[in-house]
Symmetry: C2
Subunit: 68 residues, 2 copies
């Protein structure tokens, strides 16, 4: 029953002209390690970082992150 948070960051990055982790980290204002950890699902990010990522890709937050 324990729901998990998944994400499509990797796919969104590749759709966005093969953007690198470092580029995304820079535009979002976090370290590359943070992007790596979130992509790999090591932990779920803060709501603020989540919103920033969604804003950058120009999609609703739920397109980037799913709670299922």
């Amino acid at each position: 029953m324990a729901k998990r948070i998944t994400n499509n960051i990797r796919r969104l990055r590749f759709d966005a002209d093969e953007m690198t982790q470092q580029m995304l980290a820079d535009v979002v204002g976090v370290s590359r390690q943070t992007i790596v950890a979130i992509e790999k699902g090591k932990y779920s990010p803060s709501l603020e970082v989540a919103f920033k990522i969604a804003e950058y890709f120009n999609v609703p937050l739920e397109v980037v992150f799913q709670y299922q």
Copy 2:
């Protein structure tokens, strides 16, 4: 220019039959202080807590939290 995260938790609580902070904290699985802090905007919650709150109220995350 710095965007902020706002929320409608208080209104959603009252719409939900005047639910108390403690009741929401219990169903979401956090402490009442966490609800107080988020409601008052002391800090933005983790994405997981945000999703749990939205799930409880049965609305999309963006109905509870706005990035503006």
